[in-house]
């Protein structure tokens, strides 16, 4: 090894990842704040996400929506800048920006021209470290969130999804959307947001992802300059989740006489993203109800049956076990639901075959690099791998793990994680119990 190489080796010690294939660098400050930089110099643009590992799972009891409002309110005023000033700066730069939340994290994201990077980082630091949570802005944000929550009930698909969650998850936070609901959003106060921020926005519970025309060493230096004085703190654990499998299928019927189609969502408890056989389970789920034109459910219900435009199933991707769900919208609900039940039972009993697995593997392996060919794709992938502790080698490891998955593992995953005849089913439409004629089920009134 030449001197030059040895020097580089020492210099690059903090770097994890496949350096030759992927210019992804992970580093951290002494306060625990993790920085991930993905260099891509094609265009003079930069995507930045600030992620707090506490999402809606950490909303205080009865105040679902706190994490989401907290993230949104970071754009609404700081010690030195009003909401108007923040918008003025970002809009004038032509930046695109938003806040968001799901169960496992809340985040701020910016898309900027490279020349505005330092201003963007200044703003980010100010917003994260010195938010002011002004009451007038909270009122506005709350009203908007409430309108969004109410509006969600206008869509039949959302209504049955929310009813399904309520029935499956009971008192757990998962029973309401990450953004909160009409009953909970109104109860959130400025002091709730301040508390949430104080407890969860600590550097050792957060990470920053930067993608674009940047140098990772420079990024670390600039982020360090702005965030090194931020003090770490204890990081809370989410409440455990206990899920129960219904003894027999339970069905809730919501009658809507004006509808000319019936919406159905059914499923049962799912698995955690940390489950050891998550990849075989994902492959199995893809074969069962992934693409509506070529999965087993898609072929039975749509392609051969002509019963629906869209039919699919999936496992929620969350740290705590979410749900396994299947959905369809159809004018012939009895036939569609019977076919979907039959396909799940068939998958449990006889499993997938080699050609199906090969096709699924090829799709996963082939489409994976497409998902991070753009900067925004890279940003999303890097957030995911950091959030779920997958490691920066995940971009190369994932296809390898998919390829190494055996048919036996996939079929074992079907047996372990699918529970025919133990579903929660929500049906909404202009249809009666007699017309559905479902046997051996318990009707929920």
């Amino acid at each position: 090894m030449s001197f030059r190489s040895r020097k580089s080796f020492i210099f690059l010690l903090p770097i994890i990842g496949n350096l030759l294939a992927t210019p992804l660098f992970r580093d951290s400050l002494s306060n625990g704040l993790v920085i991930l930089t993905y260099e891509d110099n094609r265009l003079p643009i930069i995507d930045i996400s600030f992620v707090c590992r506490s999402g809606a799972l950490f909303d205080p009891e009865g105040k679902a929506g706190t994490a989401g409002l907290c993230a949104e309110m970071l754009f609404r005023g700081t010690k030195n800048l009003s909401a108007d000033s923040i918008a003025q700066i970002l809009d004038f730069m032509g930046a695109q920006y938003r806040a968001g939340v799901d169960f496992d994290h809340c985040y701020l994201t910016f898309r900027l021209l490279s020349r505005d990077l330092f201003t963007g980082l200044d703003l980010l630091a100010e917003m994260v470290l010195e938010p002011s949570f002004p009451i007038d802005e909270l009122t506005r944000v709350q009203e908007q969130a409430l309108a969004n929550a109410l509006r969600a009930y206008d869509n039949p698909a959302t209504v049955i999804g929310m009813e399904f969650d309520r029935l499956l998850f009971g008192p757990h936070r998962f029973s309401l959307p990450p953004q909160g609901d009409t009953t909970t959003l109104q109860k959130i106060t400025c002091s709730d947001l301040q508390n949430f921020h104080k407890i969860h926005f600590v550097p050792n519970n957060c990470f920053i992802v930067v993608v674009g025309a940047v140098d990772h060493l420079k990024i670390k230096q600039e982020i360090s300059r702005r965030f090194a004085g931020w003090r770490s703190g204890p990081v809370p654990e989410p409440k455990p989740l206990e899920l129960y499998l219904p003894e027999k299928t339970r069905v809730k019927l919501i009658t809507r006489k004006e509808m000319n189609q019936t919406y159905i969502q059914f499923g049962h408890p799912g698995i955690s993203i940390y489950e050891q056989d998550i990849i075989p389970t994902r492959l199995m789920s893809y074969i069962l109800g992934g693409p509506p034109l070529s999965s087993r459910m898609g072929l039975a219900v749509r392609e051969y049956g002509g019963l629906a435009y869209d039919v699919r199933c999936w496992f929620d991707r969350r740290s705590l076990p979410g749900a396994f769900r299947a959905t369809v919208q159809t004018a012939k609900p009895k036939e569609a639901i019977e076919k979907m039940f039959a396909e799940i039972t068939r998958m449990c009993q006889t499993g997938a075959d080699k050609s199906e697995l090969l096709k699924a593997q090829n799709y996963f392996i082939g489409s994976f690099p497409l998902s991070y060919s753009s900067n925004q794709g890279k940003l999303n992938r890097v957030i995911e791998l950091e959030l779920y502790h997958l490691g920066t080698n995940w971009l190369t490891e994932f296809p390898e793990k998919v390829e190494a998955t055996t048919l036996a593992q996939v079929n074992e995953a079907a047996k372990r994680h699918l529970y025919p005849n133990h579903y929660i089913v929500v049906i909404m439409g202009n249809i009666t119990k007699d017309e559905l004629n479902l046997t051996d089920v318990e009707w929920i009134e």
Binding site: R42, E303, G366
Partner: protein, 450 residues
């Protein structure tokens, strides 16, 4: 840190680059987009546009046909969409399901979509497989057979897709609003077609529509990504060169819409929880040099927190929880639309008054240079952001070619935005955003149904 942002704010009236020191060293120059684009036309009339981007080993293959709901006469609305569905079925060389099976097996993302002015198909896939997409799209162009049995089941699928629209109150609202806004122009028809028309499709009609519109002279092929023009040319010639081309002149509906003689109003009662107010005005199509001023006006009116209607409706009067505005225009005259979520339906008259006052204001006073510069900065930035994804670029090139006859149209529109003046903005508002030309849509709760 704070100092920098405050300084920035104080200087916000000047372009962002002029005050910030340091980030310049991180700047990479984006090659002018024109330098990445090549084009050629086959003898059969297929126009091919190539965009080179080698940053990832990925290629996006896109075929856009110049056919959509715009071209459909009464009675067969939605037939372009039906053809799109059927084109994933049987060809004389591929069995039903082969399109998805083969493309899935190489990890390609693929789909089709139907719009007012075009029907598009795309595959995004690893560079090493890009030729497969080309081969399949060539088959789709001239080898579909549409057997009766496959039509029967897919016809039901499309009927189910149509019903999805019927059960979403906002979809019904949009659909009926367009029908009120356009009395004669095909913009009044939904892309998916009216339910009665969809039900009456026959396989013969679908075959006829396919035969008429699917050929190289009526299509644009865009190939974007990590493949060079020298490689593209012979492959395109190989797969598409022998297909017979016949141009399909597009009817010009530009002047059919009767002139406005007063406000039109739609009040729709549905099973909803949150009311909506939609106000629109007919604005020029993209063949008119003023078209792009509509985009600027929409942005000043209702895009982002610094827009005028956000200020008046949400901050000052607190009558609404959200507002947005956009200029929904492609080829022919379209609509500049303002969508408001009122806090309560009883507030709708007040909201209308606030909007009318703001429009009057914009028709009489000049907007500030700062407001205009903000929109220009956003446009310039957005044009770079758009280049991040080869599929976005492919869409931009294909739609510019279809709608304006030249992919360079989007560059021209960019130039026009940069040259837009505050006087033009005022003149546009004065001419187009008038009470006489207003269409108002109100979606409120049907309390009896609830």
């Amino acid at each position: 840190m704070v100092l920098i942002t405050v300084l920035y704010l104080l200087n916000a009236i000047t372009p962002p680059s002029s005050n910030t020191k340091g980030p310049e060293q991180l700047l990479v120059a984006a090659a002018p987009i024109e330098s990445c684009i090549g084009e050629f036309t086959l003898n059969n009339g297929l126009h091919v546009i190539h965009y080179f981007d080698s940053s990832a080993p990925v290629v996006s293959v896109n075929v856009y046909y110049q056919v959509g709901s715009y071209d459909e006469p009464p009675g067969i609305t939605g037939i372009s969409h039906m053809v799109e569905h059927m084109s994933f079925k049987h060809t004389d060389i591929y069995k039903p399901g082969d399109f998805d099976r083969m493309l899935d097996s190489v990890g390609a993302n693929n789909n089709g979509f139907t719009s007012t002015y075009y029907t598009g198909y795309y595959e995004v896939l690893a560079k090493k497989h890009w030729e497969l997409a080309l081969k399949m799209e060539a088959a789709r162009m001239h080898r579909c057979v549409f057997p009766d049995s496959e039509f029967a089941s897919e016809h039901q699928v499309v009927a189910e897709e149509r019903r999805l629209q019927d059960n979403r109150p906002t979809s019904v609202f949009w659909e009926q609003f367009e029908a009120v806004a356009f009395l004669a122009h095909p913009h009044r028809n939904p892309t998916i077609g009216w339910a009665d028309d969809v039900e009456k499709f026959t396989v013969e009609k679908v075959r006829e529509w396919y035969k008429k519109h699917y050929n190289p002279a009526n299509a644009v092929l865009v190939i974007a990504g990590d493949v060079r023009l020298e490689e593209v040319k012979p492959k395109v010639e190989k797969y598409f060169g022998r297909i017979k081309g016949e141009s399909v002149p597009r009817k010009n509906f530009y002047n059919i819409e009767p002139p406005f003689s007063g406000e039109r109003r739609l009040i729709l009662r549905k099973h909803i929880n949150v009311p909506r107010l939609l106000i629109a005005f007919p604005t020029p199509g993209n063949r008119d040099s003023l078209y792009i001023v509509g985009d600027v006006v929409a942005s000043i009116l209702g895009q982002g927190r610094k827009s005028r209607l956000y200020r008046t409706l949400i901050i000052d009067s607190a009558l609404a929880t959200s507002v947005s505005a956009w200029n929904s225009v492609e080829r022919d005259p379209g609509l500049l639309e303002i969508m408001v979520t009122p806090k309560d339906e009883s507030l709708i008259p007040k909201i209308e008054n606030v909007i009318n006052a703001e429009l009057k204001n914009m028709a009489t006073e000049l907007v500030s240079d700062h407001e205009l510069q903000r929109v220009k900065n956003q446009t310039i930035a957005a044009s770079l952001f758009e280049r991040d994804d080869i599929s976005d670029i492919a869409w931009l090139l294909a739609t510019s070619q279809i709608n304006a006859g030249d992919w360079r149209d989007f560059l021209l529109q960019m130039e026009r935005i940069e040259k837009t003046t505050t006087s033009q903005v005022r003149a546009f508002c004065r001419k187009y955003l008038t009470e006489q030309r207003r269409i108002v849509g109100i979606l409120v709760s049907d309390k009896e149904a609830r």
